[in-house]
Symmetry: C2
Subunit: 166 residues, 2 copies
Amino acid sequence: MQASTQPLYDLREGEALSALPSQPDAALYFIGRIHTPWKEREKCPRQGRIDGPVCRIEIFEPWAAGLEGIEAFESLEVLYWLHLSRRDIVKQCPRNDGKARGVFSLRSPLRPNPIGLAKVRQERIEGRFLEVRGLDCLDGTPLIDVKPDRCLYSPQVPPKPLEDKS
Amino acid sequence: MQASTQPLYDLREGEALSALPSQPDAALYFIGRIHTPWKEREKCPRQGRIDGPVCRIEIFEPWAAGLEGIEAFESLEVLYWLHLSRRDIVKQCPRNDGKARGVFSLRSPLRPNPIGLAKVRQERIEGRFLEVRGLDCLDGTPLIDVKPDRCLYSPQVPPKPLEDKS
């Protein structure tokens, strides 16, 4: 139960908490950091826009070689860790709404596993920095993953032999 | 350094490892389990298809209330944990390809943070079970998150007041 480590939050009517498990099930590594113009949560846009400002994704050194070949993909998916989010609110009322709904029917940052997901357009790559448009997160947000957008990505191998050796 | 706990894997020419950090940075909870027809990794399709077989997403009890309202969204994003994946391969050669590329230019399951991401179509909801099409993962895969698809989701609030209270 990690309620005591959760950020402060006044529940609204209809909202509900779920106790968090005492033990985590898997561990994440922060593989980089996202630099955006938004220094406070209140200033972050509600959703990223592909014509929004250029943001800079920094990949930490151990994973910099993972960027090789990424210039081929204009559209990318970025996963990041919403590090300030409370995790135990299972039903929420979005601000200015008033109707409580389950967390899985919302894209709220408050989630049991607060992973943000954005589709971005690649603008430029410079060493271990990737410049993109389409993000909506706070400056300094920890990076979890970058993938070619599934809409664009075709594996460059026959369609269904054995799966990658994983 | 967790190399000793990684699944066995013979490196191909051009592939490169990165040592994993000794400490994780964040913890995930498995909030459910995904039931699919694929019992072995070799049988999993390379990418999910929206006309593929119906799969069943089980939400564990503490989070079942999080499903309320989800029936409004035909298209969902599902995040899951690729629990059998080695995490320290920073450059990879996909099978039958032969050209090593950085992990961030591939949708391979072998990644520093092995999170899979699928866009699925909701078929039915029954208690804490969600039936969907479009998955490609192994039977028993741990569930991390479900969100309304960003392409369809419009926050039901004015476009840019203060951000959700998170």
